[in-house]
Amino acid sequence: MKFVMAVIKPHKLDAVREALAATGVEGMTVSEVKGYGRQRGQTEIYRGAEYQVHFLPKVKIEIAVTDDKAAEVVEAIKGAANTGKIGDGKVFVYDLDSAVRIRTGEQDNDAL
């Protein structure tokens, strides 16, 4: 199994969710994060003073998938999250040892 973790722009979440659903992904976990990258934060101006906001709001998506599906999932995210503008985010993949569904106790691929 693989664990896919992506950081995307917040307003792309709906599009990504739909793209993932289309690939048959049945579950994911999402969290609000702040990101720092080439897009060097932003400047907000309050009362004329510039405030350097180093971290921009991003959304992190985590999806456990079977090995054979990993590539497709990465592609789906890439496709849906891409705006061509800086700050679009990244997708990371690493190995997953095991997975368990708490409710049923199902293991690994069955648990995804």
């Binding site: 907000e44 101006i45 309050y46 009362r47 004329g48 003073a49 405030y51 350097q52």
Partner: protein, 440 residues
């Protein structure tokens, strides 16, 4: 006609005060008689001005700091409100509004300590003296609370309490006596309807002095966190706006056309200054911001304050424009040129606004601007001179006295600033043991 007469609570002056404050054509309301309509309005105004601080100002300031310090800001405002109230009862009111005998030019006496002798029957003009006391108390609350904006996010709570207390007695009470209590400026006929000098100039200047002694926040100027909750800022500003009707309208000490005009011009100046601030931002930065808009509101309100009983709607428009332009500029100057971390711009908004209004009123009270006119025999230059003198004296005394009071406070508290790691961790948890948002 003169403000000081209107504020004056000393019995000896009350007859004149009453006669002068009656704007109704009907002279049948004689002196020394309670007017229930006036009383109803001033009680209400008292509630409105308290509402300005609690929670208006507290929220306005609380939203501007970072989330780890928001509770400390609220705490400052509420605790100051409590402490000033008690001190006002004990001695502040008496020093401000009673006859100081030989020293009366400079300070009042002690005859009204603990409101001695003021029962339910005592009048001040057409309203009960206890209502006048309470109305004035809400001014004595908000003035030191305004200064909270200067020292947020890094001051010791004990220093806040001590400094505010000393300041009430040493700066606020005397200046109030000078201007509204029959002191030397009142005798010269200075015009300060609702506190351009007494409230905004004193608090604004003193803020700069405190900031100088306290030092800037960690990361200033390039790496300070932006306002954590602009919606809270706007909510507080709205409450300040509404409450300011009591502040300026109530300063007429009557429910009449004078009060009505005061609130009309107050509103117009606030609206105008907000729009001006918005337009400057839009032009300069491409986007008008909510925090900017409501900062303009406060600038307009502070600037109209001394003038609100003397100018008409055209004057209010002019004051609104001036407030927006000048205060906006001053915010930049204080932070960028002077490099002073007057964190929430108390000086640039209140100090400068209140001073600006104090000067402008000399011109704008003229009938040609729709103003209510100067007293007979006074020229605009006479008025300007008195206003400038009043401002200079207020600034000088506030600066010198606050400088010394900060030293005393630092001595008593072992330095008025918190330790750096407490500052970084945030005052909420380190000074008050609380966490502001637990939204899980």
């Amino acid at each position: 006609m003169f403000k000081f007469l209107r504020r004056q609570a000393v019995p000896a002056f009350s007859l004149a005060a009453v006669l002068l404050t009656i704007f109704t054509p009907d002279a049948a309301f004689a002196a020394d008689q309670l007017n229930s309509g006036d009383t109803a309005w001033i009680i209400t105004a008292t509630a409105l001005v308290l509402f300005m601080t609690l929670p208006g100002l507290a929220l306005f300031y609380g939203g501007l700091v970072r989330s780890r310090n928001v509770l400390s800001v609220l705490m400052h405002c509420v605790a100051i409100a409590c402490l000033m109230s008690v001190l006002w009862l004990i001695i502040g009111y008496s020093l401000s509004f009673t006859d100081g005998a030989g020293a009366n030019d400079l300070i009042g006496g002690l005859s009204r300590m603990f409101l001695a002798g003021v029962g339910t029957e005592a009048l001040s003009g057409t309203i009960p003296e206890n209502v006048f006391f309470s109305f004035q108390m809400t001014f004595a609350i908000i003035t030191p609370a305004l200064m909270v904006g200067a020292y947020v996010e890094r001051i010791k709570f004990s220093a806040v309490l001590i400094l505010s207390s000393l300041w009430l007695i040493v700066v606020y009470a005397p200046v109030t006596h000078w201007v509204w209590g029959g002191g030397w400026l009142a005798q010269m006929g200075v015009m300060d309807f609702a506190g351009g000098l007494v409230v905004h100039a004193t608090a604004g200047i003193s803020s700069l002095v405190i900031v100088k002694a306290l030092g800037a926040r960690h990361g200033f100027p390039n790496d300070v966190a932006p306002p954590h909750n602009p919606g809270m800022v706007a909510m507080g500003a709205c409450m300040l706006w509404v409450g300011w009707f009591g502040f300026n309208g109530g300063s007429a000490l009557a429910a009449n056309g004078g009060a009505g005009m005061a609130l009309t011009v107050t509103h117009i100046a606030a609206a105008t200054a907000s729009l001006v601030w918005m337009l400057i931002e839009w032009k300069k930065y491409g986007k008008p911001s909510l925090v900017g808009l409501v900062t303009g509101t406060i600038a307009g309100l502070a600037t109209i304050t001394p003038a609100s009983g003397f100018v008409g709607p055209i004057g209010a428009l002019i004051i609104g424009v001036a407030a927006g332009l000048v205060c906006f500029k001053m915010v930049q100057i204080v932070k960028t040129a002077w490099k002073l971390d007057d964190s929430l711009d108390v000086f640039a908004v209140h100090g400068v606004g209140g001073s600006l209004g104090t000067i402008l009123v000399a011109f704008l009270c003229a009938p040609m601007f729709g103003g209510l006119g100067l007293p007979d025999g006074k020229t605009m230059f006479d008025a300007l001179g008195v206003q400038a003198l009043g401002l200079a004296a207020t600034v000088a005394w506030s600066a010198i006295a606050t400088f010394i009071l900060v030293k005393i406070t630092a001595g008593l508290t072992g330095g008025i600033r918190v330790r750096e790691d407490d500052e970084l961790e945030g005052l909420d948890i380190t000074n008050h043991g609380e966490t502001a948002y637990r939204l899980d």
